[in-house]
């Protein structure tokens, strides 16, 4: 009797460990599917926010790692808003670091304004072509990208998460860390501002 009780404990542990390993494998596969589905869109959203290829890739990679490290055990339906919340925080941190860097460069003796200030010629809209031609195809996104840069951070986030990524209001609220009412307000104002900016394109 004692012998069987003594033997049954390690068997239970082995069984429990085996099941846990299977669950971990299932979880890894589910997370991989999720990341495959989200990574390219997340990169484009990060690129639209940061306007830098390497910074956008770094932000997406950090967001993936943090999601896997801290939230892989959460229900799958929570991953998308959590992932974008992490990505949003990383993008905000990146903007903050840039502002500090620009401040230091501007203050530092010998630092040139050229390094800190954006080039107005480089950022000027392309004068070639008519507005209708510019707004078609790939050029449309370039115009939207420039218009998005003029929005407030919250409006830009609301527009990209709701319209580009397709999150619903509740998920967007989780990702942005604000109320659903704020999401609706930011989104509506973003669409209005973008339409006004890209007015020539209206049918």
């Amino acid at each position: 009797m004692i012998g069987s009780a003594t033997l049954s404990l390690p068997m239970q542990l082995v069984g429990s460990g085996g099941r846990s390993r299977e669950m971990a494998v299932d979880q890894e596969r589910a997370l991989e599917r999720f990341l495959v589905g989200v990574e390219r869109r997340a990169y484009r959203i990060a690129k639209l926010s940061l306007r830098d290829h390497d910074d956008a890739l770094d932000a997406v990679q950090d967001a993936m790692i943090r999601l896997a490290r801290n939230y892989a055990g959460h229900p799958e339906e929570q991953w998308r808003p959590l992932f974008y919340r992490i990505l949003r925080n990383l993008i905000t941190d990146c903007h903050r670091r840039r502002r500090v860097r620009q401040g230091v460069i501007a203050w530092w003796p010998g630092g040139t304004e050229d390094e800190a200030m954006p080039d107005p010629v480089e950022n000027a809209p392309d004068p070639a072509g008519t507005p209708d031609q510019q707004l078609e195809g790939g050029q449309l996104l370039e115009r939207i990208e420039q218009a998005l840069a003029d929005l407030s951070g919250r409006q830009r986030e609301a527009f990209m998460l709701r319209n580009f990524e397709g999150l619903d209001v509740a998920q967007t609220a989780v990702a942005m860390g604000c109320s659903e009412g704020s999401v609706k307000t930011h989104y509506f104002r973003a669409v209005q501002a973008l339409q006004q900016e890209l007015g020539e394109w209206q049918p």
Partner: protein, 123 residues
């Protein structure tokens, strides 16, 4: 004449289509770097401790720490104080051991003398 809501819906649809096209047109280098990033993230799961281990290990450590604290507090090791039932069993062993009683039969004169001497000494 399109209404404001229709214009808004059309703008949303066309801007989303432009975004989707830009996602589909990502270059190979970017896609490759995203794949590497994903593998790094998935390695995080593989190198995590097993869930049952992470659940039971802290509990085991806490139990061991509590036992150690109890021992330090009482200042006694388990079994350092003899259990009365253990003593009773040992005495029973002495009483029931045949050898100890047999020695009385070997030299009864000596025991009679020793008894007298002790009685005289005391008196």
């Amino acid at each position: 004449m399109a209404t404001m809501n229709e214009r808004m819906k059309d703008f949303e649809r066309r801007s989303r289509a432009a975004f989707d096209d830009s996602v589909a047109a990502l270059d190979g280098e970017t896609r490759s770097r995203l794949t590497r990033a994903r593998r790094l993230a998935l390695a995080e799961i593989r190198h995590r401790p097993m869930p049952w281990l992470s659940t039971w290990l802290p509990a085991g450590v806490a139990a061991a720490a509590a036992l150690m604290a109890l021992l330090l507090w009482t200042g006694k090791e388990p079994g350092s104080e003899l259990d009365p039932t253990v003593i009773a069993l040992e005495e029973l062993d002495i009483v029931t051991a045949g050898d100890d009683l047999d020695m009385l039969d070997e030299d009864p004169g000596f025991y009679a003398w020793a008894t007298d001497e002790l009685a005289g000494g005391v008196g």
